[in-house]
Amino acid sequence: MQVIVNGAPQEVAAATLAKTLVALGYADAIVATALNGEFVPARKRAATPVRDGDRIEILAPRQGG
């Protein structure tokens, strides 16, 4: 299925947000996630299904003012 990850289309086969993060190479990274604009806490990623067309945001600390 195709999802939008950080604004770009990606093909993924994983069924949950947790598995999607691993499949995309974020397994060990310190990141926060949102699905379709709503925050998904790390503890809920394994129980959060990912569906075709979903928008996933994967964010990390960055410089800010």
């Binding site: 950080n6 604004g7 995309l24 190479g25 974020y26 990274a29 310190i30 990141v31 926060a32 996630t33 949102a34 604009g37 709503e38 925050f39 806490p41 790390a42 945001e57 994967i58 964010l59 990390a60 600390p61 960055r62 410089q63 800010g64 003012g65």
Partner: protein, 254 residues
Amino acid sequence: MDFYGYEPASRLLLGTSQYPSPAILADAVRASGADIVTVSLRREAARGGEGQDFWRLIRDLGVRVLPNTAGCHSVKEAVATAEMAREIFATPWIKLEVIGEADTLQPDVFGLVEAARILGAEGFQVFPYTTEDLVVAERLVEAGCRVLMPWGAPIGSGQGLNNPFGLRALRAHFPDIPLVVDAGLGLPSHAAAAMELGYDAILLNTAVAKAGNPVAMARGFAPRSKPGGSRATPGRCRRATWLRPPPRCWERPI
């Protein structure tokens, strides 16, 4: 000065954006004496993105972090960003920005108050980036804000205090709320002017990061400058009238 039970060691808060290098950022933070720095969240590339390195650098500095919602133009974006920031930075503090106008980065004060109410109910300790408007400030305090951060001038403009009368009125109306001039300062004399108005602290970024010598400028802004060290001329940042719009919420810096 009391930020939700925390007593800062310095009256200077420093942003971490736009420095020439991570090493200069780290040196500037140390030179400034700031014990609170602002940070952000942005989209991360897979497999060792730069956010991981940045976060290590900040943790090594041993300072408190004040995450922001920079670039958010809606209440929904700002709330989601705050929720993500609380998880990743493990702090209830959030510098709440809801931008209403892209050129001047003027806050959307209506969205700001709404977002502050939502986040306050979720247990956040909100530091709202606002204007000097007294009525908006009153609404923010009603929403639970115990710190107010009015702009001195548009973000990154380096103009100093554009409305000293309004800032003075805000101080007079809220004698017991910590007030921080959040944006628009360019020179240490602007910081002194804020202190003369009775403000508790200032928050800087561009003034230091885009100075000719950021570390020297950080030292120049430090409230208790120590003798010695470099005598390099700090070199003020560009004084801007109109600004290039920054990246939108979550997008990577340009």
